[in-house]
Assembly symmetry: C2
């Protein structure tokens, strides 16, 4: 089994969106994925990229990825916001998540971000267990809010 961690390219977008939908099913919210492939690809690889990602390829097939954008914290400055980290069900427990996460840390250091932030569902025990290995800080005091416009 040959694992390669590499930057995502525009051609990867259809497969990435497939995995995003797989994750949304796991997170019990598949109907929430309303982004289109065209908009997704343009946002990552257009004139003003808004997101960046790394793929985990196993024998040439993308079996996981991590996607981030830059968040601007008025307390901390620029931080990496890890929007998604996904490994396909068949490939879990083989260290792909760790390789992706380690690559993110390397990227955050290279780009001089003041840390990495993300969110986890409070019932997602395997993910929480994974993040604890990185000595992550967990803060449940903030509530997510949103409106449509």
């Amino acid at each position: 089994m040959k694992v390669v961690i590499r930057k995502a390219e525009k051609e990867d977008c259809p497969r990435l969106l497939e995995l995003i939908k797989e994750l949304a099913v796991y997170e019990k919210a598949p109907e929430q994925v309303t982004v289109s492939l065209a908009h997704f690809a343009e946002s990552g690889f257009g004139d003003k990229p808004l997101w960046w990602a790394f793929c985990a390829e196993v024998d040439g097939k993308i079996e996981g990825f991590a996607l981030y954008y830059i968040r601007y914290s008025t307390w901390k400055g620029q931080r990496m916001y890890l929007e998604d980290i996904i490994v396909t069900e068949a490939m879990r427990g083989k260290g792909l998540g760790k390789q992706l996460f380690d690559r993110l840390i390397q990227e955050a250091r290279e780009k001089r971000f003041a840390g990495i932030t993300w969110q986890v569902l409070e019932w997602n025990e395997p993910a929480i267990h994974f993040y604890k290995k990185y000595d992550a800080d967990f803060d449940p005091e903030w509530v997510n809010c949103s409106i449509n416009v």
Copy 2:
């Protein structure tokens, strides 16, 4: 009392940072504000702006502001992330917050963002009360995580 809502300019940065620190005290985390004025100004008004803001001026003095960045949601696409909305203590209850929030909604529509998201501290009742007027969705299921790098 003359209230003007306008886009923030680079010259406003020292005052904005003052208000950010005031809010951090209210949120019981003043030691968390470690961003420098130079980095803050550069991130908003350099070659690649990462944040945008509106000021509420009362008789020529900035008494509140709202600051956002663009978040990339793999479910929703581009959304406005409202990082901070602040009104000085002396000027609360006069409608400045509403004027700022309404201006954000207008901006989100103009820039075709798929909604506005933000976070509120679970014990911040006045803020929660304010957001309820906008029929905001509250989702306490996600926990904030972070690491330094």
